[in-house]
Amino acid sequence: MSNLTNSLVLKYGLSSTPTDAQIDRWFTYTNELIAKGNDPEESGRAAAKVTFPDCGSYIRKSQADSILTLLEQVRRK
């Protein structure tokens, strides 16, 4: 998982790893929204909701949640 993929999983609370095609779509759509004059943070979130079906599956509110999620993945590996 690249750093970008990992960041997307954590930031938008995805329950699965997004594919490269999904990430490309998210990137393009985010840039379109920003070009229309939207706030970058809002654009990214709106694009994520459209692109990733599992967006917001987890609400990660702290470092501990992220650490525990990834430790669980390591344990299952």
């Binding site: 998982m1 750093n3 993929t5 990992n6 954590l10 790893t17 702290s62 470092q63 501990a64 992220s66 650490i67 525990l68 990834l70 430790l71 669980e72 993945q73 390591v74 344990r75 299952r76 590996k77």
Partner: protein, 174 residues
Amino acid sequence: MSDKEAAEFSIKILGVTINYSLAFITFILGYFINRFSMTRNEKAAHSARIQEQSNKLSEALNQKFNEFMVALAKYANKVGEPNLDDFSEVSLKGEAYFTHLKIICDTILSDNIDASSIRNTHSETIKEAIEKTIPAYYSTLQEVAERCHLSYTGEFKRSNYKSVFEVYERYCKV
């Protein structure tokens, strides 16, 4: 010297002694008052310094956290069996993250972080570290090491996290 002269002389000596004593006492008092109290400017500078210290420590912790996350994600998403390098990367980055937490706790205990930062920022991370992340980190590493036939002796010992426990007991217990 007549009795009268002697008495006048004594009074003069007494006056001089009192004058010097007063000057000396004032000097000593002034010194201690300055030494143990701060002017308004000094207080503002001190407060800014401990706030900045807190921000710096938080930024450094975030950096360690990101590196730890990358190592964990790399391990979890490795195609094929992870190797010893991947394992030691997770172990090293994890240790670095938790060591930084210890540094934050040492700084809290030496009163060099302002109280509101402890309450609002650090206490939650420390609470979660003691209750969840540190135990999960060690148990996961032990489990993975056992599965891969690696010898890993790391375990969650209270003695290794003295300052973290002390801060936890002081600030995080309801």
